[in-house]
């Protein structure tokens, strides 16, 4: 048993680290606008991502209005509808979730959690944000371009993405592709920073196996993103050339609007391979940081050490590696060799093993824990339940024979929204409520937070459970209007109206969250440096919010892992990572 007292004898002096290498801002603009401080960059990333995310939320309302009450809103014609679904999907996946988890949480948490003063390359880090902002602006510009944004569906499949008749094929698709290229360049700059900082910026005593799981999740996701985004880059460049210079990488000989196009012999399947070679790791680029964050939220708010830390780390790494060999399960209906489908179905189902290990470990962490049902914990629990739900429907879709009839139905929409829409967003909210006191020095309103959670959680199920049923009825996705189809029962129309109302209510709850987020900066209850009594380093900074350089004169020294909660014999129910052990008398 370990006998620990707070402020025990330090057996080694913290290194006095000179901050000569740290960049010091000289003006207001350098400090707040073109800041090289990872914390400001994180806030800039988060605000931008949330702002564009709200645009995508509004787009989802509009498409739900059409699905729930077809023909009622004259301004949502088929063109507009396709533009809404395309932009909603692309913004949510890339510009909100990827940017927020890696650019937002990654920037804020990595340096603080590993005990660094800042990212390793602050200037490149700053550049990364501004390039990301440029990508967002180019994307937004497509809304104002003649013809509007692209309506090709978020997967941008050729040939329809760049041929006549598809909304936004004049300019919208070009801006979309250019925006993606810019995003990838910006992300690579940031990603280099996250990886090198985890490898090289760790403070003394911080072994890899003492890293909080949040850092493991973000680190592995960044590695995935760095290796997977080039696939999207190549695909995007090729499609741009097809569109602008008449090449035929993806474009087959095709008659468009009654005229033979100049293309010949291109392969749309080649695009699908490239797109999904990026697209599937993308799921884990979003999920792995969520896994990590949820692990930390659960351990902190259940006051228990995480169950099976080693297994959790191995599972993250295993999922990361496996995610590169499952991409073709998105292409079962593309006419592939059946043996190929068999291979990808097998790898897809194998990935359920490390994922299930993680779920069991979360549940076992909660087992006999001192569970505090505060807002971050509620969202973390919401994540687990939703992720399990979405994961189970993934087992259906991962099998070729079951997937074929379900392909391109609302069942798929329900599945991926549960598993990589709602589940990661739950984590995003939980993480914001959790780390808000560190970022602003104030707590968010608890009552509004609980309202936000319950409406979002129950509302999400009210939206997506019916969609499974609608999908099983054979209702296809991406249809502007179902029309008279004999196989669709009338209950589908009723359910669609119900889902739309639920979606609007959930949307309203997000406005409450937005209000809470902004008003708490000014009116929130003042928070102490470590209001959740957590062990990880970011809560042990001398000042809250942490100043430039994070740690004052001395960097922290780490003596233990990140999950010393409720240690028997300890005075308090948590022991910070930088608290030295008491040397026992001989």
């Amino acid at each position: 048993m370990v006998d620990v007292t707070r402020g025990g004898i330090e057996s080694i002096r913290p290194a006095e680290v000179p901050d000569v290498e740290l960049y010091h801002p000289h003006s207001w603009i350098e400090k707040y606008v073109f800041s090289q401080d990872a914390k400001y960059i994180a806030i800039q990333y988060s605000i931008t991502a949330l702002a564009i995310g709200f645009v995508a939320l509004v787009l989802s309302w509009l498409m739900r209005l059409q699905l729930g009450f077809p023909g009622t809103f004259s301004f949502i014609d088929a063109h507009a509808y396709y533009q809404f679904i395309t932009m909603h999907g692309m913004i949510m996946v890339i510009y909100l979730l990827t940017a927020l988890f890696l650019g937002g949480f990654g920037n804020y948490l990595i340096p603080l959690m590993v005990g660094a003063r800042d990212m390793v390359f602050p200037f490149v880090n700053m550049l990364s944000y501004w390039v990301y902002l440029l990508a967002v602006l180019v994307l937004v510009a497509s809304f104002f371009f003649p013809g509007g944004p692209t309506g090709a569906g978020w997967t941008l499949y050729p040939p329809q993405a760049i041929t006549g008749g598809t909304p936004g094929q004049e300019g919208g698709i070009i801006l979309m592709l250019v925006s993606l290229l810019i995003f990838i360049i910006g992300f690579t700059m940031g990603g280099l920073n996250y990886v090198v900082t985890v490898l090289q910026g760790r403070t003394r005593g911080m072994t890899l196996m003492r890293l909080p799981l949040t850092v493991w999740g973000i680190f592995t996701a960044t590695v995935l993103a760095l290796l997977a985004f080039p696939a999207l880059f190549v695909a995007t460049v090729m499609m741009l050339l097809d569109k602008l210079l008449g090449t035929s990488f993806f474009m087959p000989a095709i008659i468009s609007l009654g005229e033979q196009t100049g293309h010949r012999g291109g392969s749309p399947i080649l695009f699908q391979h490239l797109f999904w070679f990026f697209g599937h790791p993308e799921v884990y680029i979003v999920a792995l940081p969520a896994f990590g964050i949820v692990s930390d939220l659960i351990a902190t708010h259940a006051r228990r050490n995480i169950f099976g830390y080693r297994m959790m780390v191995w599972a993250i790494v295993a999922i990361g590696a496996l995610s590169f060999v499952v991409w073709a399960h998105h292409m079962y209906v593309s006419g592939m060799n059946p043996y190929f489908g068999f291979f990808f179905a097998t790898t897809t189902l194998i990935i359920a093993v490390p994922t299930a290990i993680k779920v069991y470990n979360w549940v076992l962490t909660l087992w006999r824990g001192n569970i505090h049902l505060n807002v971050p914990m509620l969202f973390a629990l919401g994540f687990i339940v939703t992720f399990v739900n979405g994961g189970l429907s993934g087992l259906f879709l991962g099998n070729v024979v079951v997937d074929v009839p379900l392909s391109d139905t609302m069942f798929v929409v329900a599945h991926f929204h549960m598993v990589m829409g709602i589940a990661p967003i739950m984590t995003v909210f939980g993480a914001i409520y959790h780390w808000y006191p560190k970022v602003t020095g104030r707590m968010m309103n608890d009552l509004l937070g609980k309202f936000h959670f319950w409406v979002t959680f129950l509302g999400a199920y009210a939206i997506f459970f019916p969609l499974h049923y609608i999908g099983l009825q054979g209702v296809p996705r991406r249809y502007h209007e179902l029309g008279e189809a004999g196989f669709i029962p009338p209950s589908v129309a009723t359910l669609n109206a119900f889902v739309t109302v639920a979606a609007l209510i959930v949307g309203f709850a997000q406005l409450v969250f937005l209000y809470n987020l902004i008003s708490s900066v000014f009116r929130g209850e003042r928070a102490s440096g470590n209001p959740w009594r957590a062990t990880t380093l970011e809560w042990q900074t001398p000042e809250t919010p942490p100043p430039h350089g994070n740690w004052g004169k001395d960097l922290p020294v780490v003596y233990r892992w990140a999950y010393d909660y409720s240690v028997p014999g300890a005075k308090e129910d948590f022991i910070p990572q930088n608290q030295a052990p008491v040397t026992k008398p001989a």
């Binding site: 760790r202 890899l208 080039p230 190549v234 392969s267 080649l270 010393d564």
Partner: protein, 234 residues
């Protein structure tokens, strides 16, 4: 997609090998204690910039591996008309080899701390690097003069895309080289200069490697080699 799967296997193997050195089987909940009591408490001894360059190499490598995968997939279609690679590309290949040799020499010269040799070799590297770009442009001009334009045939499209993307990375390498040379001229600080020159050399060796892979693909040698391997395996 065999090329990219092989490439990623190599990258993942390197990362896996590295992870295995990191005591992933440690039981951190039992390892409370001071620095030095357990292994692996410090960061890696490599400078951050060096790791960053290797990470960048993995990213760019992934880009070209995917491009080559796409090339292999596309060339199986019946309308593929392989390109007759302009002869000037042999000169550009030689230039790139010379750049690599010059930078390797510069690295060794920094070790001997003989500044004039460092400068001479950096100039030589820059000269051959620029020569490479010029040769590539001449190759493009020759092809366009013969009527092989970007959209003439998929093989042509891939030729221009591959050489173009590689060329852009070479231009990036030239900027890094100019930056390093600037340092050598301004102030001779062997320690930092050594790192700069070393990273430049690493990046240019990588560019050479990518070019050789791309060149062998464009000339058809890679396909012959692949067919030979296939025959041997069967």
């Amino acid at each position: 997609m065999p090329v990219v799967v092989i490439f990623l296997s190599v990258v993942l193997a390197v990362m896996g090998w590295w992870l295995l050195q990191q005591r992933l089987t440690a039981k951190p909940w039992l390892e409370e204690g001071v620095i030095g009591q357990y292994d692996g408490t410090g960061s890696m001894s490599m400078p951050p910039a060096k790791i960053a360059v290797w990470v960048l190499i993995a990213v760019i490598g992934s880009l070209f591996a995917l491009l080559m995968s796409a090339y292999f997939m596309r060339m199986g279609y019946p309308d593929w008309r392989p390109i007759a690679v302009p002869r000037v590309l042999w000169f550009s290949t030689a230039s790139l080899v010379m750049t690599s040799i010059a930078l390797h020499g510069a690295k060794r010269a920094v070790d001997t701390r003989y500044l004039p040799a460092v400068k001479a070799r950096l100039i030589a590297a820059g000269f051959f690097g620029v020569a490479f770009v010029i040769c590539q442009l001449l190759g493009w001009r020759e092809l366009t003069a013969e009527g092989f334009l970007l959209a003439t045939n998929p093989a042509d499209s891939f030729f221009y895309l591959g050489t173009g993307l590689h060329g852009l990375h070479v231009l990036g390498g030239l900027i890094a080289l100019a930056w390093t040379a600037n340092r050598a001229w301004q102030k001779f600080a062997p320690e930092t200069l050594r790192l700069n020159v070393e990273l430049c050399a690493t990046y240019w060796h990588f560019l050479l490697f990518v070019w050789l892979a791309l060149f062998s693909l464009l000339t058809g040698y890679a396909q012959e080699f692949g067919a030979l391997c296939g025959r041997l395996l069967t």
